[in-house]
Symmetry: C2
Subunit: 170 residues, 2 copies
């Protein structure tokens, strides 16, 4: 029972069925947005579970891994800069970064020129960790094809539209 990954239709791979799950037949739900937000919602959960077998052995959670990947882009990033990349704020990031520091994957240091800011750098151990590139194993296991890039673009566009809409209203 290892996993939590029960999928619909236990005991079968249900061919590309239209197992859309969710607000579908029944005529109850009207908004297409509901379908899409649920698809994203569950796909995000699915990614977390797909990465788990790869991340568990190296002692990282899914979120910690994402943070490390973003940190690997550039040394000396501040919490705020990282937050812009990840769309997260210090209230969420600070505990995660402290955890990653305690695990020895990164260093946090106040910027001498501006003591308000905390700058972060991956340690050798942190960099080594990413070199195994866990994402590759996941992509292969899931047999993700080439539409990957297009889909990434479409989802990123969607995200940006949603964030723009939010700023308008608020």
């Amino acid at each position: 029972m290892a996993a939590t990954n029960d999928a619909p239709k236990p005991g079968s791979d249900a061919p590309t069925d239209a197992s859309d799950n969710m607000p579908v037949q029944g005529g109850e739900i009207r908004s297409l947005s509901n379908f899409l937000c649920f698809a994203i919602y569950s796909a995000n959960l699915a990614f977390g579970r797909a990465y788990k077998p790869v991340l568990d052995p190296i002692g990282l959670t899914y979120t910690q891994y994402i943070a490390l990947v973003a940190l690997a882009q550039e040394d000396g990033q501040t919490v705020g800069a990282l937050g812009e990349k990840l769309f997260l704020e210090s209230n969420t990031l600070t505990p995660i970064l402290k955890k990653l520091e305690s695990l020895g994957f990164l260093e946090r240091r106040r910027d001498p020129a501006d003591e308000r800011q905390v700058r972060m750098t991956l340690t050798a151990a942190g960099r080594r960790l990413l070199e195994t590139d866990p994402g590759v194993a996941v992509a292969e296991a899931a047999e993700l094809g080439d539409e990957l890039a297009d889909l990434q673009r479409a989802v990123a566009d969607l995200r940006d539209k949603l964030l723009r809409a939010g700023r308008k209203v608020a």
Copy 2:
């Protein structure tokens, strides 16, 4: 690659340059899967934030709303059945369902024929809530177009591949 899209400087109002977000330049990251999982990850957060202005006034969280929508499909669903739709288990659902019950949006009752199971039904208040169809407002505010259906399908396929991969490994 990924981010060349003129994303509108997400987290802030400052006209920061085209913040590409994530594993892009720098040549540090290799796997396309990383781009995609991050896009999904952040799109999910964005959906939650987009729905917030609509859901806050009616006193629901994003997850609670998703659960209600799934519950509206059919009366008398069990926790397990709902969990199959949402890819969640009782450890996550039970607290949420208890909360929704305490808010008066649904009823939970043990099945007399099998006391292990809990069956749920929306109350009139719960049904009324969904009739406002909050998703419509979000879709309009975000100006989501018609690709919506295609994207939903692509993301759902991705999710199913990931879940299948997880079952294989585990």
